[in-house]
Symmetry: D2
Subunit: 418 residues, 4 copies
């Protein structure tokens, strides 16, 4: 359905040619200072027309807050918001309507609902993500103010152009145990330090200038060939409190995977060492514990990606999301009509040759929504447990004193006491 | 939490040293013939002690049905089932308890709950998956009888030993557009035809005998080194009806990703062309439509993995899941105690050097649970829509006559009329 | 939270002085013809300013559909709708703000959220029900078109002025077994036949002209005394298919009770014979089965109110809801300020002296929402069960052939074959 | 379905003739000391065979804890528990099976599921409530230890025999404004002070000895007439923290109504002044605020029943539940068979002539489950809000300093400072 979350609950609405798109965000903590600007900044990073690399449509996408606030403070009640669609007319009928567009949702929406929007896949439109980005901006503001959480996503590959630091040759036939580390030290340093500002310095949103330039060329080449190209987005979350994620079905990585694969055009998700981690031995992959200067425990390597047993451990959470090449291309495609008649379809309209630069704020938004909901779940548990009398009947290694509102005490990676 | 699903709802319980583990399955269609044997067959494929490749503990894991059935027929009411734990004593205290085990859930469970089971990570125990496998066996039986759905998972890699057909050299620096197809024809043929019987012929559950032998050697090498190794499991679903998956947050691939990443030790998920698909151009990646002999539409290539816009399209659904190397190794590890004291930890007990062979039925089970729930959601919609009068005010390409209980009409891939 | 329902899911938003109030309705069956008029008709019955009996504010409350439709047909995607608030300015501060208003939500909202809207109880405003009434109108349209369901609510009491047919003297000390029937034959006839048109002929929405006149006088007396008065609303649902309601926690009467008690100012709910039914013996209360002319089974008496074991049985569902006297009265009230300082509060603004006439469409709406959701749940089950092979191993009294889309075949009560 | 709750989640299973009945309780706070005895005490109050007034079957109903605990301390993971059914054989077929029993669930279960248990209504069996009572005992223990909450239910009427203090003559035709108070001072005193011990001194669980004796006679008269009789149960909750209940659909009274109407045989629910409160004027019904000795605000009258705007206000919550006369009577009943053939049915087996004495712990259990879940919801909000910086931009009457873990500071009613 169109609702995500248990305690921080986001419900989105809208297709590309209806009156508006938007969302209701229920469960936002009361007392948060919030303005339309807090939301607009991420909508602007998502909207089309930002550069030559994206679709030339330049929609304003100005958010209108409807409820849940008074004098710039959240009331704890549902925050409704919407963005008007500039073009609200239903799509005019044309010969291309006889064809389900290859790898689009035209066909499946019709199979599912028995009726579809004239514009095609209805809710599979990228405009649906406006509601998510807005909701994510609210979640992110709370996480930042209350816990200092930082969420930064960036483009890690376009086609075969990868951030060099992620490039590890796959030896598919090899049986060599001496595997290199799943991720290079350079890439781990980038993860530890990259800022949203650095990301936005590049049109491609790849914070490695040389790679960014090659990505740009790859996208322009797809564009000039009336074709498209895929890519990946990597996201890092810093200063996340430990203890988030609900065993067993709602492990934190499961929630993140769910959220990321719900973004249009996604085909894969990996966390921490991911698919590369399957190729190394346990002795190389295990994250040994270390003592931090503040007395807390951390891990030396963090191949786990900040999550163990489905629960955050206080280290950085990082993951990568795969986006397929956009299905809309202006090249002619040989395919068949709904009734099976063979023919050739040339796409109408303008489109993005590559979605990953604009996907960056969407990935950040979905991460924020997931983490916010998981945080509230854990706060309920901790607040409840903290009222119980101390446990005296269990061995000390089984017990930790109850606490409320755990705040991450350090920025990951900078203060190992070894 | 410990519940998955909306209409087919599975709630599991149990740790490794409590009285029993099990599940309540709510929402199973009434009138299904079901016996303990239907469930036991998958539990047997999951249980430890099946071969030298797995942990030598040989637990019987005999399922006991508690409710929801009479004379071997489901009543539509909750089916409770449990498996007794052979060893129900709490773990005895030892010096190893002073250490949180690296890459285990000991530390995070204690951070989350403030108390943990003496056995360590509590619900992160592999025994928790017994309830899932049992629930999946029920879902699978319905899907097979009512819709002919086939679900087959198999091991596609162990360490660097991959099914050769999946091996495609990654040219990370290249900007070559002439990408090979994301998956080889051989591998696609294997996907189309592999059976559970073929999978079980190999101890490693890799249905390619030569690769299976090399995988076995890789696992034995890890075992003899007191180490462990990761791997991947690929799963194929055939004859799935079109129309499953709920836009926008509950896209079918999002639900599958959620379910797979909720399995212990998983680190990644990709569907269809997956991460490889991000490297090719849209013109190569788009799945052109073709007319099947039965008049229905199919796709020529299926890089989408049977899902477009989050909704199944009637083609085979296939995906791959990454499993990290098991964290429990008997090698000594340098780490620190809960209080930060440095030391060396040598794991207690016996363990699997590689989990993927036993993970195969767990992946199948979680797939079945997801698909069953998605199917019931869609049945509600279709049954409701079928009572409405025909739509006469929309253009014909926007409308399809309503129908109930869509059954996939063909086995994918064998009857393209081109 | 602000979401109701599993498959037909309604999320409302808005306070009295924000930009708009409204709702997202997710899960509406695709292919339903729907216009703003279908919704506006019930909003008009709910809005203030309809007569002298209600608050003189005359707000237009014109609904604006945002999404989920194209050319007047539902797409199966979320339907967002909103109604602009005429007065969007935050409330100006005045001395009355020092007082939590007695029996209002001012105090509890502040306790719950730590911050409250200047207008007082925020979401406890009657304007919040606009989203519900709109959602209910959509549900009702589907139920009527697809199943012929009729939902009619009416005012059954105002203060001590009751529809005479419901008046049964309570003999609190008596131990007489010869109890009269819980409801009189006249009242049962009214339930069987009353139409929304008859209800709307009376300003009080009591379809019994003489009683309606006395109710009107009672309300006017409260108004002239700067006071208020409570009342009850009774609702009847005809032609509801059997089989709705989900044991055990979501019994149909439990869902109805939940929905009704979520309406502002409600204090009680009873179904069928209700509280009166507790006073009679089982032999008088049991509903003997009878054979209808069409061959189906019905019941002779229907004290059960159309529900047995939490599941609808095909008879009329009827229930009664208690509304307290409105808390806002312009009489001066002796109370204390937030800081405990004693004082006298005289209410600001205009208000309804009695809410029940305007509550009638709200009760109908919540009933429609509940029944729509329960219907979709049951359709999923029936469609799934209908694909299974016939059960041959159970005695015939335990089995009924599977069916999909059960439609009630008769109007209750008119065709008993006895 | 068979699951209740969001954060404290109870899933029950079992019919009367299967292997066992029980529940999984997910979300219990970790670190709670809990033993089987804590649960057994309430199961004993529920079980049949307690006295001449109930069914003579004497089942032990001994609870077996399966998971979620170690050494008597909750781990925060799912607590599974079960009670073996003594008689696990399916019911033998007999002529009575040809009849759907009047006012039972036989008919509706068959309509809903297309198959039913041989014992009749399957999950409508009173044995299903065992799982609820066990779950409620756990919730109640937390509420008592952490917040001092007291929950006491008692029988307030059997047939026409009412606790005299609740008896208020209804003047159905009257238009007298000078209404008496909805509840008498004596009854309010009983509410404020009644203990579970006093309740259990009477076989009928009515804590007013004289009335209890008359109730007993009424029940014995029903029993000797092979008939049955209904009744009501009143429940009081003391020391409940303010702020519980989630606007708008999950108002606290709506959740309680849902929970109570999900108990078998219930027909009505009223809270605070309830149906009586509809007959009085607002000026008499409004609860003026008063200042307590501890500085907090309370109300002088509490006709609201401790809830305003759907949120608890710190006063006692009290409500009343209607139970119909049991449908199973050994008198012969004229009815028809499933196929419409007229006939006479005499009930098999033994039964309770009146359910209300045994319903008392069930009402308490469902109240505890509802309140526990609502409490956890509120704890999440409060803990989250408490980390935000102080609000400086709103007028002081709109803001309250954030707090975590509000504990009710007084026993209601004893310390008004007026």
């Amino acid at each position: 359905m169109s609702t995500y979350g248990t305690l921080f609950r986001v419900t989105t609405f809208g297709e590309s040619h209806c009156a508006s798109v938007g969302a209701i965000i229920d469960g936002c903590p009361p007392g948060l200072e919030l303005s339309a600007d807090d939301i607009q900044v991420q909508l602007n990073r998502r909207r089309p027309g930002q550069s030559d690399l994206t679709t030339p449509r330049n929609e304003k996408d100005a958010v209108q807050l409807q409820s849940g606030l008074e004098r710039g403070v959240t009331l704890g009640t549902p925050i409704a918001l919407l963005v008007r669609n500039e073009d609200q007319r239903p799509h005019d009928y044309s010969e291309t309507d006889l064809f389900p567009r290859p790898s689009h949702a035209d066909y499946t929406y019709l199979e599912k609902y028995g009726v579809k929007a004239s514009s095609g896949g209805g809710r599979s439109s990228a405009r649906e993500t406006i509601g998510r980005v807005a909701a994510g901006a609210i979640a992110e503001k709370y996480l930042r103010i209350a816990h200092g959480v930082e969420i930064v996503a960036f483009v890690s590959s376009v086609g075969k152009v990868h951030l060099p630091t992620t490039a590890v040759a796959v030896d598919a036939d090899g049986d060599d145990d001496d595997a290199p580390e799943p991720l290079s030290p350079d890439f781990r340093a980038l993860l530890a330090n990259v800022s949203r500002e650095e990301v936005d310095k590049q049109l491609t949103r790849c914070p490695h200038p040389e790679t960014a330039e090659r990505m740009k060329q790859r996208i322009m080449r797809a564009k000039s060939a009336s074709d498209s190209i895929g890519g990946t987005v990597t996201c890092i979350v810093r200063r996340l409190p430990p203890g988030l994620g609900e065993p067993v079905f709602d492990k934190l990585e499961a929630l993140l995977a769910h959220a990321m694969l719900s973004i249009p055009a996604t085909k894969g998700f990996e966390i921490g060492s991911g698919f590369r981690g399957t190729e190394v031995s346990g002795s190389a992959h295990n994250d040994a514990f270390v003592r931090r200067r503040d007395g807390s425990l951390g891990t030396a390597t963090n191949w786990s990606g900040g999550i163990q047993g489905g629960i955050s451990n206080g280290e950085d959470v990082y993951f990568r999301v795969a986006f397929k090449p956009p299905a809309t291309i202006s090249q002619a495609q040989t395919t068949v009509q709904y009734d099976g008649t063979p023919g050739t379809l040339a796409a109408r309209g303008r489109h993005d040759p590559c979605v990953v630069p604009r996907a960056v704020p969407i990935v950040e938004a979905m991460a924020a929504i997931v983490l916010m909901d998981a945080l509230l779940m854990q706060k309920a548990r901790q607040a409840a447990a903290s009222l119980l009398p101390p446990i005296t009947t269990l061995p000390p290694t089984m017990v930790l004193p109850p606490k409320v509102n755990v705040v991450a005490r350090r920025v990951n990676g900078d203060d190992v006491d070894v």
